[in-house]
Symmetry: C2
């Protein structure tokens, strides 16, 4: 079952890449995957659903790369960067196509239901985030899940904006730059000068101070 | 012309909010706006286009609020936060509807063409960013336009993830939290321990060091 599913996704991916999402039929996907047409529809009721599950190819690639030692790190923070770069390979093969798929994904997505492959990615990221927090690489005042979701959001945003042609260069470089910016933060050196104490509203910040001991702004 | 356009957008917004994007026809929008049907089609060839331009209502609200002194600051960084909070009001009125509109917007958007209202927002943000950089509130090693785009991306991502039901609470609070996180950065105190110098790949970081004088990681 799992094997058929993978084969259908790979066939669809190759066909979409060659001919574009809109031009390919479910029948052609069945032929290319060498499975019965009914098998395709058993796994994926429609093309939107197929696009939605295409992200699992990316996560499979990542899980395989981890198993084969191709996400060397050495630090957990660098592993996150390497993972994002690796996952950028599929979209990079055909930006236009990726954009059309993204739109179909968002059309098909049920509100509040995180697709299974995004949940798998979240688990991987959460583990690295916890390791990075233990090593002092990432701030430890927020839950690993909260930071992992922040990073997933960053990846989604970077992919979307890149796919819509608003960024020059590769997606891998763009995600890497945005990730670095999210690590370092965008505030300036004299930040403390504008931070009136005791008015922090952010429930995530237990202490109301950041890692530099300054109070949160506002 | 400008006035008709505004009237049509407001009528569409009210109808979408009451009945949902899918249920409302262009004819009903014309009736509600009290303009000829042809006038609607002159301004907006289809519903996707109407949804795309709906964002200009948000930017109009912001421009009006600035003119009326309702974005008090006092610092430029706080103005950005107040602007994002204000712009969250429209989506918050009906999350489901906002999600459907977002999907239609992404369907209608031409790659590489920033919608006019997003360009207007970018100009406002860029001015505040430049002021914040001059005041030492925001890092000055990146161009104002680069940081303004980073913030617009943050807003898009926060709105999208909220509209898809992955965040509890209001959009205004969510955007505010994400904005604060982007200011402070997510790295930990002992970050420098994992930063091998001299291998920075990021072309945006002229010096290879961040505001704390540490070298960028990787």
């Amino acid at each position: 079952m799992r094997e058929n599913r993978q084969r259908i996704l790979r066939a669809a991916h190759d066909l979409f890449r060659q001919h574009g999402v809109d031009a390919v039929t479910m029948e052609e996907i069945a032929d290319q995957a060498d499975v019965a047409r009914g098998t395709v529809f058993n796994h994926f009721p429609n093309k939107e659903n197929l696009c939605l599950e295409m992200g699992s190819l990316q996560v499979d690639m990542l899980v395989e790369a981890i198993a084969q030692g191709r996400i060397p790190g050495p630090t957990p923070t660098e592993k996150v960067d390497q993972a994002f770069r690796l996952m950028a390979e599929l979209p990079q093969a055909n930006p236009d196509n990726y954009r059309l798929m993204l739109v179909r994904v968002l059309t098909a997505m049920q509100p509040g239901v995180l697709p299974e492959h995004r949940r798998r990615l979240l688990i991987v990221l959460e583990r690295w985030v916890a390791e990075a927090q233990a090593a002092g690489e990432l701030r430890a005042d927020l839950a690993p899940g909260r930071l992992a979701r922040y990073l997933m959001g960053l990846q989604l945003q970077a992919s979307l904006i890149w796919a819509f042609g608003f960024v020059e260069g590769t997606l891998a470089d763009h995600i890497s730059r945005q990730f670095r910016l999210s690590l370092e933060g965008i505030q300036g050196v004299t930040r403390s000068a504008i931070a009136p104490a005791g008015t922090a509203q952010n429930p995530d910040h237990g202490t109301g101070t950041n890692e530099k001991g300054e109070t949160g702004w506002q």
